[in-house]
């Protein structure tokens, strides 16, 4: 990583740490609700990063990352509900469980490539909500009723609100995970992952154990997304099969493509995008109908769809790619 971009990242982190402390000064701007919303963006960014490790850096497709998100969320919820495990300890537990599930799923997935893998993962995403309702698991998962949880309490008597604390907790997890991903991608293993993506046969010929790398990447990717799921269980304080429908997986994919495939920074943008646009599309349609009084009864998803097409058309490399191109053009113009 270049020194200048390192400075940038540090700057953003410092800013992210300071913002919630402004709450007493601007209570309406830095409200608890907005911090909660940013926390959901952070969680989405981690999930998208998980998918990005698999698709962006290793070239394997998944339409089913919602399944791992669900497994992570339920692991956390069951541990908290049945065994009274503190919420912070559920994060590594969810990571381990999801790594194992992802690794095991990665084994048969080795035989499947491209579209076939996409379909297999799609089936996984369809199956998981049903499995959660299954009779034998009902004692654990609470069936359709789901599990109601307590929100994480602020530790050590810190003078923070629950939402401020949740925000810091998510931020911390995100920084650790992104730091880990950046280091991994910069290592020999990371180069091997990308070599498999770029030229599978060449990578194999060079002596990279492609089967091992592909399955382990699947596991790590699932673990990342599972951690995001566990965080969401903490943030929402409720899990139910209805939260993990097929659309969740599609949303991660949208976040990935819009943010930027194969870009860490893009994962953050992708997470922000899907929370923000999903919400503002709804507010926008309401604004058009109620406040402007125009007779357009657009559904929020129409607005969402139009925005999506516009972005893909204008920035085929995702927002991260688009920003990079714009930056290069500006510099080129100056030089």
């Amino acid at each position: 990583m270049a020194a200048s971009s390192k400075k940038w990242v540090l700057g953003v982190i410092v800013l992210a740490v300071l913002v919630p402390l402004l709450q007493p000064v601007f209570p309406d701007v830095v409200s608890n609700y907005r911090l909660f919303l940013i926390s959901t963006m952070i969680i989405a960014a981690i999930a998208v990063l998980g998918l990005n490790l698999l698709t962006g850096f290793n070239g394997q497709f998944s339409l089913g990352h919602g399944a791992f998100y669900a497994v992570g969320a339920y692991t956390a919820a069951i541990l908290m509900d049945k065994l009274n495990v503190p919420y912070w300890a559920t994060i590594p537990a969810a990571a381990i469980v999801c790594f194992i599930v992802g690794y095991l799923f990665g084994l048969p997935a080795l035989k499947l490539e491209g579209h076939y893998l996409a379909l297999a993962t799609f089936a996984l995403a369809l199956a998981v909500p049903q499995i959660l309702k299954y009779k034998w698991l009902e004692g654990l998962t609470g069936g359709v009723q789901g599990i109601v949880l307590m929100k994480p309490e602020v530790p050590f008597g810190l003078p923070l609100s629950e939402d401020q604390w949740l925000y810091y907790f998510c931020l911390l997890v995100m920084i650790v995970l992104f730091w880990g991903a950046a280091n991994m991608l910069n290592s020999r293993s990371g180069r091997a992952m990308m070599a498999i993506r770029d030229q599978y046969m060449a990578a194999d010929t060079m002596g990279i154990d492609t089967a091992l790398y592909k399955t382990v990447t699947f596991g790590i990717s699932a673990a990342y997304t599972g951690i995001a799921g566990a965080l969401s269980a903490c943030a929402i304080a409720f899990v139910a099969p209805d939260s993990f429908g097929i659309f969740l997986s599609i949303k991660f994919l949208i976040g990935l493509v819009v943010g930027g495939i194969g870009s860490l920074f893009g994962s953050v943008l992708g997470g922000i995008f899907y929370v923000l646009v999903d919400n503002s599309a709804q507010s926008l349609t309401q604004f058009i109908r109620n406040d402007l009084g125009l007779p357009f009864d657009l559904s929020a998803y129409t607005v969402f769809g139009v925005l999506l097409i516009a972005i893909i058309y204008l920035m085929p490399m995702g927002i991260a790619g688009g920003l990079y191109m714009a930056y290069r053009k500006l510099r080129g113009a100056r030089a």
Partner: protein, 406 residues
Amino acid sequence: MKTNRRIFLGGVSAAAVLSTSGRTFAQKKYDEGATDKEIKIGHTNPYSGPASSYGVIGKCEEAYWKSVNERGGINGRMVKFITMDDGYNPAKTVEVVRQMVEQDRVLCLFNTLGTPTNSAIHRYMNQKKVPQLYVSTGASKWGKYKEFPWTMGFQPDYHTEAVIYAKHILATVKDPKIGVLMQNDDYGKDYWEGFKEGLGKDVNKVVKHVTYETTDPTVDSQIIQLKDAGANVFFNIAIPKFAAQAIRKVADIGWKPIQYLNNVSSSVASTLKPAGLENSQGMITALYLMDPTDKQWNDNAEMKVWRDWMNKHMPGANQDDGNYIFAYAVSTLMEETLKRCGDTLTHENLMKQATSFKKFRVPLLLPGITVSTSPTDYYPIQSVRLARFKGETWELFGDVMSAEGS
């Protein structure tokens, strides 16, 4: 300084006027979400996603509050009805409800739809002490006034309804052998639990209990299993599509049990017509709302008012859809609750008014059914009337029934 003094004087004289007029004016008191001009209420509904057929409820309620405002609002205040799509996803419900409570600062939530979605915000609303009124779900858990004093249901819960069927079977059928078809989710289970409770020690009279998933193509094999078990009573806990399939199959295989149909599928247009009216004769259900497709209500005054209202405010809507009846009825109860709050639009007073209805008549409920609540009774509608299908309509019989002790 001059202006300050003037304001002070004005204040004093105003106070004097007020004190001479005594206590004839109740003092205006507001919580967040209410002002002299406006009352904000929040609502969530699945306008998108797998449960989007319920979206018409939200649309109808939006039209209702618009019509209230056209009539001049409630005690001179306009109602701002904020409705958000949660796609039946509980995680999304939390997000949009927090937005409504913390950013838009609504006075209360009204008729938020769905069991999992309401479960997700149940604790939050009670922590915030913001009323979550007349939720749109028939689960039995919305009346726990001790733990959740800010949450209240509306319709008779599935549990109570099933208890009534069980008691009716025990009282009228000689040597019953009961076969049960159940949708495998929270709604089905709520009925099933209530049914078992109603049977009490006679629970062994259930000779076969089968389930289906909403993704199943048919319930044919389940019906055959019930027949083969030798059942002479059939309790049908299914949504319209599957209930109709079941009724048809029962007739096809020449099985002639006494049939009980859950209220969820009591619509003539969406269940009994597809099942075949000739196959539905003699079936028993429990009703609390009028069915717009049932001809016996065609000349009912309340039904006529409703049809006029629909023609004016929801032109083009399918008036056979019972969801519009439901939305209209629950909205009138909400309007009345707000009206009774007068100028004291606080969370506390809202709950106080909501818990002090005494035999209040809500239009479109069946004759004889009223709304009663108290600080220890958070179930507004608790009674139903049994009806038997005859010809093309439901024929009410017997008295208004309620489950004992609830």
